[in-house]
Amino acid sequence: MPEHRLALCRTCYSPWFLEHTERAIKKFSMFTHPERILVAVSGGKDSLALWHALVELDYQADGFYIDLGIDGNISYSDQSKHACVKFSERLNRPLHTVTVAEEVGAAVPEIKDLTRRVACSGCGLVKRYFMNRTSLEAGYDVIATGHNLDDEVAVLFGNTLRWDQEYLARQYPVLDEREGLKKKVKPFIYFTEKQTTVYSLVNRIAYIREECPFAKGATSLYYKDIINQLEHQMPGSKRRFLDGFFQVRDRFVQSEPVELRPCRQCGQPTTGDVCAYCRLVEQVHRHSTASVR
């Protein structure tokens, strides 16, 4: 790990990783041991490693899986669901599941076709909605996601390229609870993807190595490539970029936060009258009916 000027053996790696997970949790006041944590898992290395690490650290961490209904000729969602179910059994912790096709009336690939939205846009919307709804319904205190340093730096890079002040204001490892929105945290904020992969391999976590078929050609992958070239030449650049941003982030936060109110249809928080999720469901139903005629 050139950025830490550190090389660790197999035995020392997990204790080092767990200690740094705990440090991030405490540094950003993410949660405490009495609180119940809902870990959003996809079957990939980061989210399963996060669930494993939190259980190792004796947190009350349960899993939450969203079946997106993506096949991509690799049975992507079937594989990812299988990985999450098996891992839940291994950890002996509950796994909550939601199936997008049952809730919305169409799976993510159909939502993409019916609404002409980019797949990641509809997918992100339903994920955020179900994470919040499930955490409220099942009585969790906080939602934890497996976003890592590379994810965060790539998003920051994109937001900075566009100087998107609203997104910059929202980018932080902790988003506090407010008006029907559960607290959300990212305990792996300071781990690179390589570090979460090594943790997964060392702990024999059976994650799916296949990439989401819709991620092919994603802008974030292009940003990650550029950032890794920078990191290769100047170790520590990712961390400096992100920490430097945290020091100036307040400048992007509006003094008057946008008001949230319950959606007229589902009761989940929204800035408008009807939330984006309910509008998406309506759109899907309208287009499905039209295509049947």
Binding site: A7, R10, A40, G44, K45, A119, C120, S121, C123, G124, L125, K127, R128, M131, N132, T145, H147, D150, D151, A154, V155, E166, Y167, R170, L175, L181, K184, T192, E193, K194, T196, T197, V198, L201, V202, R209, E211, C212, F214, A215, A218, S220, L221, K224, D225, N228, Q229, E231, H232, P257, V258, L260, C263, Q268, P269, T270, T271, C275, A276, Y277
Partner: protein, 57 residues
Amino acid sequence: MPARKLLEQINVLAETVVVTKNEEIVTEDEMLEVGDEVELIRVISGGTGDQERGIGN
């Protein structure tokens, strides 16, 4: 040759893979010999659909 040299030769950044030799994770300084079974495990994943894009739903 060291694993680092192999990665340079095939134009792969060390930040983007985990190197295993005979099914054991090794650092980029590890010497690779003829007959070693070497695997490069990709670490980069894409798609940021569940990143925060706005407030509320």
